[in-house]
Amino acid sequence: MYNLTIAELVRGLQSKAFSSVELTQHFLDRIAALNPDYNAVITVTADQALKAAIAADKRLAAGGAPALCGVPILHKDIFCTKGVRTSCGSKMLDNFIPPYNATVVENFEQAGAVVLGKTNMDEFAMGSSNETSFYGPVKNPWSTDCVPGGSSGGSAAAVAARLAPAATATDTGGSIRQPAALCGITGLKPTYGRVSRWGMIAFASSLDQAGPMARTAEDCALLLSCMASLDDKDSTSIDHKIDDYSASLNNSIKGLKIGVPSEYFSEGLDKGTEQAVRQALSDLEAQGAELVDISLPNSGLSVPAYYVIAPAEASANLSRFDGVKYGYRCEDPKDLQDLYSRTRAEGFGEEVQRRILIGTYCLSAGYYQAYYGKAQQVRQLIRQDFTQAFEQVDVILGPTCPSPAFKFGSKGDDPVAMYLEDIYTIATNLAGLPGMSVPCGMVDNKPVGLQIIGNYFDEALMLNVAHQYQQVTHWHNLAPEGIA
């Protein structure tokens, strides 16, 4: 059952080939047996899941059940879940139990999905290797001495290891696409404002966006249909028509203009990765798509701009974790200053502290214009690059990240090397564009991801391209050794 896609699970549940209780128990058993190898799931909500499954079976029996009724999923531990600990991968929130659901969680509940638990992640979504989690690193199911990517490493590893057919994730600079690439699954970061941020713990508010992770584009279409909503609780949620993402999956891509940015195939790109991505481009060309060389001249500025804007916003977003209202508080503070400084020094990990300090510095009097002001100008230039590119092409394709999964600790003492992991993904966050990653090959027995970048609200077209690609390739069906 664990090898079935969501589309297949929905058919199986509706035709009563198996019940939601059976399915839920099956995945709970897999989590119990296999999760110790990967550390992908940090909270298992077995009792609630089985209760929800019983309810789902009743709805299925009664007929007219909602789209994902009875389908088990996992939520990244960044989404607030009512009554269930939501840690954001941090000691700071190790004891935090929200009294409300994130809108994403609410939407899945409405769609009848069954929540198996919460997935591991880099602390406050800050990291590209899942090594910054308070709950320990997640191991890549393809090679357990390698990282799964981050920050949604738990969600990606869980889907790759078939601990759940799908998981929610978030992407601020590549946190859906990079771990999807490194774990050989399909993941989509929608247009900024497409999915509500209510109840999703903020890292960098102007960049954060939630999206689905699954094994196929077809599944991502089903999941995105459920996640996308206009939410009056999120002022940055955008009132734009929600497409039927599944309806256009089988459209022909003949004549589709694919932009290939020269900047995404330059120095620093692993040879094997480049070969796999170029092969994918040929495969799409064979299906009738047209490749167009394009340039995104300001690409090189995206990492520095991002590492000003994201930490600046984070430095304010994380100020609320002060030991006063909820979450971690240091023992026996001697005064207010001590309460603040020790709570935050003890409650936050090293990478989070580093980014708070960077962000605080960038916003300081005398530095604001040179850093934050400049970064906002760069952001504008990056947006213009894409706007011009999309005047010529329908989608932009390239590698998701420069190389396949790397070994634990290999970039640990060099934050800049780690930040370059997101060199191809960050620009879309700065521009607010949608991007996705699709498995497109293997290098040294480790997956490679193909990135598809679309114009604003063109998720349906991106999913269509990805689905057409998956009709003629098998990469998304591969499973790590010992899994399938």
Partner: protein, 489 residues
Amino acid sequence: MQSISGWDTVIGLEVHVQLATKTKIFSGASTAFGAEPNTQACAIDLAMPGTLPVLNKQAVHYAVMFGLAVDAEIGKESAFERKNYFYPDLPKGYQTTQLEKPIVGRGNVEIQLADGSTKNIRIHHAHLEEDAGKSLHEGDFRSGTSGIDLNRAGTPLIEIVSEPDMTSAEEAVAFAKKLHSIVTSIGICDGEMSQGSMRFDVNISVKPSGSDKLGTRTETKNLNSFKFMEECIAQEVDRQIDLLEDGGSITQETRLYNGETKTARSMRSKEEANDYRYFPCPDLLPVVVTDETIETLRRNLPELPDARQARFVKQYGLSDYDADILGSDAGMSVYFETATEKSGNAKLTANWTMGELAARLNSEAISIANSPVSAEQLGGLIARIADNSISGKMAKEVFEGIWTGEGSADEIIEARGLKQVSDSGALEQMVADVLAANQAMVDDYINTDQAKRKKKLGGFMGQIMKASKGQANPQQVNQILAKKLNELL
């Protein structure tokens, strides 16, 4: 420039006005004052992780109304920023406020001074922001406890920033009172100073008379009464002048004034000031106010105090002085007009509203909005004075009865049998009885010089009023008495 022994004073105000919206600026929690601590703070106000602000449109409209009332430019696209600092009653660790693009731009407020002159005070801008919660301390940090009440957190404020156009405590207080009058008149603030609905930060500096160069200023924060403001300014001006005259210099600092002990102290110097690291709030979109909205609000803007005062003179024939007092206070003016409608006598109503009622409310520290005597009830009482049903003296007794909840004037007059006797037959009989029973007094009256007789009338009046239990109409009694005594001469 008004100078004190060779010095000019320069004063600018920053005024925090709590907007009278039902819910908070970024959440649906109630803004009502006085609830149990932390019962009016929702997940957003508590800055729970993942929560997001949604702007209260009413707060935006109220801010625009203020802008229109002071003839200011309205920011058609304003923006919120985060002002970062740590404090336990600031749940997010930043205050959401406006800096670069405020909703209200330059404006003007005209103030009246005691000598009858007027002066224009310029408004630099006014911006929207959220209020913080309250910290309550008992004992020191280790042995004592600090409590935090977040009911106030997220209450919408406009902060009005003036130009440093005031040169004395009198002008500053006149300006503060005028703002109070404006915001209560247009209904955007309840004006309850004791509940912190309006709070004033006063920037004060002095410079040698006639000098163009401004002196170093201090800022005294959070004054919540006109009286404290006046005292604090006088004290701070003296302190600065004394310091400079002794060859010292002024430290740029933030100060606190304690109205109870009448002392001020330094809170922090400029060097200790926070770097607030303002930056645009990514959770909120720019606030767009359309021309259509502005015009609708302008059309529906309630009467402003200046216009109302002029109308009171014209419509009710009030003196400038009365119109000024009644017209400048929104609560009082509504009360006065409602009561007048019922009483039919504006002058008497004005006297009673500013006199008996205001004094009583003042002594019990009750706002006119919460007056135990409603405007209709006072109007009903005055109607009975106007038609001579009761005397002015009895009216005070009736007023007392209404205050303590005995009912309307008519009910009390009826229940207590206070109705003035104006029936001339009954009064003639009453006078005759008193004269008959007091022959010695009558003889005394007759034997007194004509010039001094008038003084003797009081004695008879007292007897008659006593006999009538105060219900006799005094004017009528006076006439009858004079007539009857004259007949005896």
